[in-house]
Symmetry: C2
Subunit: 142 residues, 2 copies
DNA sequence: TTGTAATTGAAAATGATTTTCAATATCAGG
DNA sequence: CCTGATATTGAAAATCATTTTCAATTACAA
């Protein structure tokens, strides 16, 4: 049987392949929503009922270190994870259902350079995130 | 004695003025760093030793509701607070010492409208934050 | 000055996350 | 295909941040 690319990457990094990891990867890799550890736990147990919450935490940590998923910061909390944006993308999150979309748009470079000059800071990272309602939730709203 | 403007605002909103609140406000209003509840607690107790941590949490919550302070999201955690930016400012944070600077720069409107059109999302909020080293920490680095 | 309702701090409760640990499973080497 | 060293597991306990509960205290309006 062929393994998910994330699992192959983990394996290449020296991680062993287990059913627990397979279950967590399957859920995280498929989801377009930000998921908390508990949510991953609940969903992943349908594929692997013996899964423990601790293992979910450990697997999420490994995936984050590999750059495959990332933590999402939201007004209501910062525990959820999503698949990491490819390349230089930013996030757009639905406040209602947690659905995510991505976009690019980096004419931020000019702004950042100008801020660096004005403040004297050496800028190494930036976060840009948009919040709103996805097309689906927008409908239900009106 | 004349009270700090934040205390006056709290008072006008029906909050009573107590030494606990005065101690917390004094620390938060003066700081250019993001401070966690425990840090506020430690610092504020030099002015008011009887202060309890619970009261710090409650006061921070009141100040946040009044829009006087705001929670800061950082890679290392999201528990710290700073004085709320005036008007439409964004944050620049030093990863080393937590020092904060602010900047404006909202030609984001164009970007946001274009993302809204492309994705169908109704965008209601955006977060933009920069991270780096403040002039002081930059010196110690090299 | 006084009464009442807001506020306090301590302790207990909660919730998320991490650590500990003995049992189990993966997988490299024979 | 076995086998053994070692990574991994899940449960329970520990930790850490935050919230709730509650009886005592305090601010402040009358």
């Amino acid at each position: 049987m062929s393994e998910h690319p994330w699992l192959i990457q983990l394996n290449e990094q020296g991680y062993r392949l287990t059913d627990s990891r397979r279950a967590v990867v399957e859920i995280m890799a498929e989801s377009t929503h930000a998921l908390t550890p508990i949510e991953v736990y609940d969903e992943a147990r349908s594929a692997h009922p013996a899964l423990g919450l601790v293992t979910v935490y450990r697997t999420l940590e490994a995936l984050e270190q590999q750059g495959l998923i990332q933590r999402v910061h939201q007004p209501q909390g910062c525990q959820a994870f999503i698949t990491a944006p490819a390349g230089h993308q930013h996030l757009l999150l639905c406040r209602q259902c947690g659905e995510t979309a991505r976009f690019e748009g980096d004419d931020l470079e000019t702004l950042i350079k100008s801020i660096a000059r004005k403040t004297g800071y050496q800028i190494s990272e930036h976060w840009l995130q948009l919040f709103g309602l996805c097309p689906n939730c927008k409908k239900g709203q009106a």
